[in-house]
Amino acid sequence: MKLDLANPAWRQALPPSRSVNSEAPVAACAFNRDGTLAAYALGDGAVRLLPAEVDAAAPDAQPPVHSGAVLCLIGDPAGDGFISGGDDGRLLRVNTDGTAAELLNQKGRWIEHLAQHRASSAIAASAAKNAYVVKAGEVRELGPHQSTVADLDFSKDGSRIACAHYGGVTVWSLGQDTLPPRRFAWAGSHVALRWSTDGKFIATATQENDIHVWRIAQATDMRMQGYPAKVKSLSWTADARFLYTSAQPVFTAWPFAGKGPEGKPPLQFGDEGAGLISVVAAHPTAEYVAGGYDSGELQLGDIKTRRSVVLKMADGSAITCLTWSPDGQKLAAGNDRGDMLVIDLRR
């Protein structure tokens, strides 16, 4: 798909969108596999399902499926619904009719992070110091790690999973479970993790406002510093040439093509937004990127033309989640005051 950000239409009017308020903070949002539904993880235990078409009517809210807050949510790689985790310790498969089935129950712990590997229909969830991989009805426990798993992600081919914790990252081999886990060490607390889309790098964000990246084959690592706040969101471009990071007022991309980012400044582009980017999401196939700000502003950027356009004005409620539809034509977003958005980028 092609988005011409030079088209003056972007600056004359905001794109078509729908916003429904849930009165509970939105922790995560996702589209389902075929892109017909958007879902929102809410602070009252509900997973709210809304049609992805912005002009479709919003159905009534379904009752909560978790008993505390829903902390994480992804589209189900094995079905048309969603997978959610909550602070009630339950991992649920939420069907398109709003009913839910329990996949895992870790009472007393929080299910805080989810990852998926679409091609093999595998999902992974973190609960305290363990990670759980669920595939074809089987659950495998990985851990315990030295501290609570702060984020996790599958490798490109789905054969491994990386877990972030204090002191670095642990990579588990999923195919051969006799293979010992591999450790990538760096002192401090690692709070976010993304495996590069080409499988060659693992990036983490740390408590100390910087980024750490390991080159897996060579086991070498690099550190990017200078952020004014903690980076909580990382996103690799589809071609793995750039790593986008939050915590800057403009789109910020570290170049990984060729020799990598060592000794180079990051590419920064677009119009300065209000506040800092709180969530960043690279387009699933093309050269675009979406950024949500802690002020509530939303921007769409194009790394080729170095342009950006505003998709939503700042309103004082931080964007907490942001995700692309599988076809890359829509965006779903949520904020800390409970607004659940879908934006249609076709114009």
């Binding site: 609570t148 408590q207 903690k230």
Partner: protein, 321 residues
């Protein structure tokens, strides 16, 4: 969403002092308030309640080369998680294990910007077992450090000791920490007003402290012990000199200085300069203006281990005009 910072109370105390009893009372009493309670995983809280969150006291060292800059990463995570709930809290209580050092918990609230934006450290409350405290002092540093860090102390189980014994324990507590408010209790029974929403870390309320314990002085025979020292000065403080001295002092002695507080009369400034710190981490701000004709007295307090009174006194005097 703009909302007031949620006050956080840290509850410490040696094994068996009565923390769990106190928490159970806070959770079961009808007070019309909603408190989230973060307990350590090995705790024995009898209440199964979705306001109770298990933590695992996960401490990490900041990557800045400072050995006392340790932080509870699990608290950062849990507080962020609690803020995702629709339900809002009147307060958060953090229980530490009986052998925990309160430093990392307190420092967490100096370190993380988001935690600071959503919550404020209100006070460190330490429950002391009147019968076993003196014995616990012999068994390690923990019991002593928990008292040293405290803003509020519950001297509990007073029914199990005689009045002279109680007096001995109280004197010992006062020698370690003369600033904390001390309440005598039995079975951890106390009005919640006495322990919650105290504003002990609020720079605007720091003016309330009065170091009236100058007579304690420093005893070189017991320099391994935790003590408190306070200093006053009537000559104004030269800010550049003070900053340099305090910076170097905390850099060098941070691990041994548990708490520090100060109200300074800065040369030429119409307002008080107030600060307070936990180990090397510090907060400071301008406080209330000096009134006309008011004596502009600077006050400084340190609570810590191996404090060298002569050296601190000289250092502070060198900062004066």
């Amino acid at each position: 969403m703009a909302q007031a910072q949620v006050p956080v109370t840290v509850l410490t105390g040696y094994l068996g002092a009565g923390k769990t009893t106190l928490l159970n009372r806070i959770l079961s009493e009808q007070h019309g308030k909603t408190y989230a309670v973060i307990v350590n995983e090995f705790g024995e809280l009898g209440i199964d309640n979705d306001l109770v969150v298990n933590a695992d006291e996960e401490v990490f060292e900041m990557n800045n080369g400072c050995i006392c800059c340790t932080v509870r990463g699990d608290l950062i995570r849990i507080i962020e998680g609690l803020m995702k709930r629709k339900q809002k809290f009147d307060g958060i209580l953090v229980e530490t294990t009986g052998l925990a050092d309160p430093g990392p918990v307190a420092q967490t609230f100096f370190t993380d910007d988001e935690v600071r934006a959503r919550t404020r450290l209100d006070a460190i409350v330490t429950v002391v077992d009147a019968k076993h405290f003196l014995g616990q002092l012999e068994q390690g540093d923990e019991a002593e450090e928990q008292v040293a860090f405290a803003d509020v102390i519950l001297l509990n189980k007073t029914d199990l000791v005689s009045e002279p014994e109680l007096k001995t324990v109280e004197d010992k507590i006062r020698a370690i920490n003369p600033l904390a408010r001390l309440h005598r209790t039995q079975k951890s029974q106390i009005e919640l007003d006495a322990i919650l929403d105290k504003g002990a870390f609020d720079l605007r309320r720091i003016l309330e402290f009065e170091p009236d314990f100058l007579s304690h002085g420093h005893d070189h025979d017991h320099e391994e012990e935790v003590t408190s020292l306070s200093f006053t000065a009537d000559r104004p403080v030269v800010p550049e000199r003070f900053q340099k001295w305090m910076g170097a002092l905390l850099q060098l002695r941070g691990p041994d200085i548990f708490r520090s507080k100060g109200i300074l009369a800065i040369d030429g400034a119409p307002r008080r300069y107030v600060y307070q710190g936990v180990h090397m981490m510090m907060d400071s701000d301008w406080g209330a203006p000096w009134k006309d004709g008011e004596a502009r007295t600077s006050k400084l307090v340190f609570i810590g281990r191996n404090l060298d009174g002569e050296n601190l006194k000289r250092g502070f005097e060198d900062c004066l005009k």
